[in-house]
């Protein structure tokens, strides 16, 4: 065990004059050895293998005619050969998909950034007083429950048909988890810590900056992690309905839906889009781990 091996070096130095600090400190970072890391990869890879096998099995049993199969649920390898390949060609395969992915990624990231700034600000305002919270919170909930697809004509009339309206859709979806989680974090600040700051006669601003915001950070990051997935979906859905200006991956997928012969490309576009969502999720997770790894309990749990 790495913990036991490291412990003696961490025992406080005892001085002659005083029996020094009591207790043994615990090393926080346990470098994970690479065999262990590899072993951690086995379960998800097994799940993936099962998923692919079921896909093959279903596609094989459900469709007798190869052409019919290809136009409905093509084999995974057909998705690769007819959807993703050639990897680097101007008109077919993976490169155009990436070309469509880029505007969607921009909308996702910009929309997520707006949601974070706006959501955290709104949460801070709600945290100022119970009255503010009561005044604003119901509308934050309504924002979340509005069926966006139902109001697309209205959105077009209000915000046009280009990047602006797509950002609106992303923010509508992504802002709620940021608001609720940040507010939860701000309100969960330890009461004794509040007392400590009260005893130091601090201003409201100092209390927010040095106590409430750092203490809310883990919850806030959890909210942003949920929001990042929502932002990707929002951007793709917006591509479906608002397709002026730069065309995104949603446009590509919708376009490939039109003809059954394009089914492998549709799958390739969908898989790429969801991979982008996964990458977003992982990036936010990595940022979170970095920001709180030294002090938060969640950081010391073995992944």
């Amino acid at each position: 065990m790495t913990t036991l091996d490291k412990a003696p070096a961490e025992v406080p130095q005892e001085s002659m004059a005083t029996p020094a600090a009591v207790g043994v400190s615990v090393p926080v970072h346990q470098p994970r050895s690479s065999p262990r890391r590899l072993r951690n990869l086995i379960p998800p890879l097994l799940t993936f293998a099962v998923f692919i096998a079921v896909w093959y099995l279903y596609s094989w049993t459900r469709f007798d005619n190869p052409a019919q199969r290809r136009n409905a649920l093509p084999y995974p390898h057909t998705v690769i050969t007819d959807g993703f390949l050639p990897l680097w060609d101007d008109t077919n395969g993976f490169r155009p998909i990436l070309g469509y992915m880029w505007p969607t990624a921009k909308v996702t990231l910009t929309g997520l950034a707006i949601s974070i700034v706006l959501g955290v600000t709104i949460a801070i305002i709600m945290n100022l007083s119970k009255g503010m919270e009561r005044a604003l919170f119901p509308y934050a909930v309504i924002l979340q429950t509005v069926p966006i697809l139902a109001i697309t004509p209205l959105l077009t009339q209000l915000f046009g048909d280009e990047i602006g309206v797509r950002l609106v859709v992303v923010v509508l979806i992504a802002i709620f988890p940021v608001i609720t989680n940040t507010l939860f974090g701000l309100q969960s600040t330890d009461r004794m810590h509040h007392d400590l700051f009260t005893l130091n006669h601090v201003s409201r601003w100092t209390r927010l900056r040095k106590l409430e915001l750092p203490s809310a950070l883990p919850a806030m990051m959890a909210g942003i992690r949920i929001a990042s997935g929502g932002a990707v979906i929002g951007a793709i859905v917006a591509d479906f309905f608002f397709n002026q200006g730069e065309k995104g991956i949603g446009y590509y997928i919708r376009n490939k839906q039109q003809r059954a012969a394009n089914r492998p490309e549709m799958f390739a576009g969908t898989i790429t889009a969801s991979m982008f969502g996964v990458v977003m999720f992982l990036i936010v997770g990595a940022i979170t781990a970095r920001a709180i790894r030294n002090w938060h309990e969640s950081a010391s749990k073995q992944a």
Binding site: P12, Q13, S15, A17, T18, P19, A20, A21, V22, G23, V24, S25, V26, P27, V28, D190, M192, H193, D195, L196, F197, T198, L199, N200, H201, V202, T206, K210, L211, P214, S215, L217, I292, N294, W295, H296, E297, S300
Partner: protein, 278 residues
């Protein structure tokens, strides 16, 4: 090991020169530090909005160089005394006289900010008081030495044992060099051995730094070992029902705890507490 630190001396020297400059300052300096109590409760009472009568007619003072401990049954209003003294709770009757700008409050929990290292936690109070970066760094270094945390400055609270956390919390209060310390059962959550060790160290710190202290605890032995005076509080509403001047001198060896006179005082206080419950 425990000596009057450089900055404490510097602060004392500054006060002295300032006092010499004007006669009024000299007078206020004399009356403010030498003679008047650091904390004065007079006929203090506290009734919470829900009708709970927590404290009833409590009067005592804590003078410079005094270490006063209040013992009493759970829920008797001991902690409320400290919250009133510090201004966290407003009392409903009587007088509470204390300089609220010079209080060192040591909480039941260490209340360290988990996202700050030991060094940054120790600097916190000074930082919130707007003391310059170089000055608070210097003070933090000395406070960390005083509480024996040298070598742990860059660790985060979750890497520390319970005892080390309390040392860090103590250092955070020492940095402001307060006139009076309020201790709210600071060692209650520690194991017996750690607790006794920290008691020894706190006593040495008290002897070298000459602050005034109001200490709250459940432990009679801890009270008798640390204090110059022990007050016994009754069950709610809290009243002072026992008052003991502790006759041991300033330097108290660890083994004092096992001497007959020590046990006798503990026994008397214990009898008082039994009455307090009934």
């Amino acid at each position: 090991m425990f000596t009057l630190t450089g900055w404490a001396r510097a602060v004392a020297a500054t006060n002295f020169t300032e006092d010499m400059m004007t006669d009024t300052a000299l007078e206020s300096g004399l009356s403010g530090t030498a003679t008047s109590p650091r904390l004065r409760f007079e006929h203090l009472s506290m009734v919470f909005p829900d009708g709970t009568h927590a404290i009833d007619d409590v009067s005592f003072t804590v003078n410079p160089g005094e270490f006063v401990t209040v013992v009493g049954p759970s829920g008797c209003g001991k902690s409320t005394l400290l919250r009133i003294a510090s201004g966290l709770t407003e009392h409903t009757g009587g007088v509470c006289d204390v300089n609220r700008d010079s209080i060192g409050y040591v909480f039941q929990d260490a209340t360290l900010l988990p996202w700050r290292t030991v060094r940054k936690n120790v600097e916190l109070n000074a930082e919130l008081h707007g003391i310059s970066k170089s000055e608070r760094t210097r003070r933090a270094v000395e406070a960390i030495e005083l509480v024996n945390l040298v070598g742990h400055e860059d660790k985060y609270p979750k890497q520390l044992s319970g005892g080390m956390k309390m040392r860090c919390s103590l250092a955070r209060s020492l940095v402001l060099n307060p006139e009076i310390f309020l201790f709210d059962e600071p060692f209650g959550a520690l194991d017996e051995i750690t607790r006794e060790r920290l008691n020894d160290e706190l006593m040495n710190l008290f002897n070298s730094e000459k602050f005034a202290a109001l200490f709250i605890t459940h432990s009679i032995a801890e009270a008798v070992f640390l204090s110059t005076r022990v007050l016994v509080m009754s069950a709610r509403p809290g009243r002072i029902i026992g008052d003991y001047a502790i006759p041991f001198g300033a330097q108290r060896p660890h083994d004092l705890r096992f001497e007959a006179e020590f046990a006798e005082i503990c026994g008397q206080i214990n009898d008082d507490l039994k009455d307090a419950h009934s």
